[in-house]
């Protein structure tokens, strides 16, 4: 606003009409109105409506939405299943992100060279990223099948008993993490390779003259120089993992015994299978709060340690 005012003072030394001045003030808002409209319609309104619904009891079809205050929230927070869902989501997110980033970084360091073999490897590792999640789920359901799956066949070959990958509450979540890591590595590796290539070579030469041992070179130069990439991939990874849905829907349906039920699937179940929209919305609000807090924490705390050139 102040900026617009200054412009007015400079361009219009009091001679022109008042109406022009007000147009100059309005102009920027008029310019961004279409974008604001789209944003409001598809982002602000749904979020507002979700918050509104979270204080009501509604079944999707009834014309009446009963106001129930914070009942949905108090019920949610006292629900053992929901607490499991929260813990599942955190476990899933933590291991998925940590493993994906760790493995991708190592792969990126290994593959960050020129040569046909390395290009081929980069392309191969990237390929899961372009397969749709539904196909990935079907593929892994077959691989992880308890009776005739590829994984168990391989395990049996080397004399290990079959594992109930998707049908045991002990393994199901880990199996889903495995699939997510497999799918995520390609993209993460590619981004890491791009990050590695943007590190000036002369830094490593300077480090070499400074007698830097390899592990210290990695910790003191590679990691700090990659920090924007690490930061970006972590945030994207956390947000994506918290919103995992397709693999759970197709592979486990949240089971067995709620062991793979996570936020979005839980919301989906309550909203579109049990038609408890108010309750599902309340869970959605909690997910929104958790993601906002996580993002905020990242930006406040982590970004201080991120080096941008």
């Amino acid at each position: 606003m102040a900026f617009a005012k200054v412009q007015v003072d400079m361009e219009e030394p009091k001679t022109r009409q008042q109406s022009f001045i007000s147009w100059v003030k309005v102009r920027p808002y008029a310019m961004i109105f279409p974008a604001i409209l789209v944003f409001a319609l598809f982002f602000i309104y749904p979020i507002g409506y979700m918050i509104y619904l979270s204080f009501h009891d509604w079944n999707f079809v009834s014309p009446v939405k009963d106001f129930v205050g914070t009942a949905n929230f108090s019920y949610l927070l006292n629900d053992r299943d929901f607490r499991e869902v929260i813990s599942n989501s955190f476990i899933y997110t933590f291991f998925t992100v940590a493993l994906t980033i760790g493995i991708s970084l190592l792969l990126a360091i290994w593959l960050n060279r020129s040569g046909k073999l390395y290009s081929f490897m980069q392309a191969s590792i990237f390929s899961p990223h372009i397969i749709s999640l539904v196909s990935v789920s079907m593929l892994w359901m077959w691989i992880m099948d308890g009776d005739y799956g590829l994984l168990n066949w391989l395990l049996n070959l080397i004399g290990i008993d079959s594992v109930a990958w998707l049908t045991s509450p002990d393994y199901a979540l880990a199996s889903l993490i495995l699939v997510a890591v497999w799918k995520g590595i390609g993209f993460n590796t590619l981004v890491f390779i791009a990050g590695l290539q943007s590190i000036p070579k002369d830094l490593y030469e300077a480090a070499e003259l400074d007698h830097t041992p390899p592990w210290r070179r990695f910790l003191k130069i590679t990691v700090p120089m990659l920090s924007p990439t690490l930061f970006f991939l972590t945030i994207i990874g956390v947000i994506n993992s918290f919103q995992v849905f397709e693999t759970i829907n197709l592979m486990t349906g949240g089971g067995p015994i709620n062991s793979t039920n996570t936020f979005v699937y839980y919301i989906y179940e309550y909203g579109f299978q049990f038609f408890k929209i108010g309750y599902a919305s309340a869970a959605g609000v909690i997910l929104l709060i958790i993601l906002s807090v996580l993002t905020l924490v990242y930006f406040k705390v982590l970004s201080k340690r991120v080096h941008y050139r």
Binding site: P200, D202, E205, A207, L209, K220, I221
Partner: protein
Amino acid sequence: MAEIRLENISKTFNEDCVVKNISLTIKDGSFTVLVGPSGCGKSTILRMLAGFEQQTEGNIWIDGKLVNDLAPSKRDIAMVFQNYALYPTMTVRGNIEFGLANRKVPKIERQQLVDEIAGIVGLTDHLNKKPDKLSGGQRQRVALARAMVKKPKVFILDEPLSNLDAKLRTQMRTELIELHERLGTTFVYVTHDQVEAMSMGDEIIILNKGEVQQKAAPIEVYQNPGNVFAAEFIGQPPMNVFGRDAFESVLEEVPEGVSSIGFRPEHAELALETRNVPHMAELESEIVTLETLGAETVYKVKNRIGMMNIRSFSTPIPSRGTCYVSIPLEKLHPFAADGSAVPDTDLSANKEAVLHGVR
């Protein structure tokens, strides 16, 4: 301190020979400047010296030790990179002491060394800042301090001033000369800037297309250029060099074996009227352009010989019409067909046979 010896060094990149059989000795404690246009191989030589590139052929000796297969860190050298290569995530102190910390120098000793060096290069107030908060000159100093703190036998500087503005560059030039005098260590300095080479080096090595053109003290390079390339590379504006034919119309006798002749722009004199001074070739010329630089004026003039630069320290001539250029015969540099200087040819033997350029 160390003497550096290159013995028949060649470097080939994918069949592209960038350094061709070079043998050089860089004197202990000298400030040696490798100078040449881009692509002349000067940086490659430097990188082979540092150990970042392996020479295709030949031996490198530093302080009497054969270092062919020695890792860069074992060669006891320090390098200042063109883009400084400071660790951006570390403070100035962190940058300077990183090499010491890697060698497990005790913390107290490290602190003393850093403080001492920071005092020398004037960084004491900036030790806790990150490089991105520093100006170009300050970053340059950090890079120098980081090199100095290791107390190396040889300093290698790869175009360290090229990223600084003109004023700062002049200032840093002086500081580097002082630093070299203070440390007494061998400095090997790479630049494409002939002014830097002339002003800083004890010895200049002029390179072109992977070969040494001349290796001598700056004044020697200026006064007795070894070949046409050296003559045209050093000096601003460069030496005027013309073919034998051009001079045959001016000199009565051009000795056998001389295929081109040059003279420095500042050795010719420019006057508005014909003067007919003995031992000078006088040419009627036309001023094409003039650059007034304050203390001096650079004229571009056209005459029978061709287009030439004349550098004059007298008051600029305002008009652009006809003038007379006199070239002292003893300042003429004859070159042979292969471009090398023909040393014992005295063209001033022509003194009685000067044709006045006036036509």
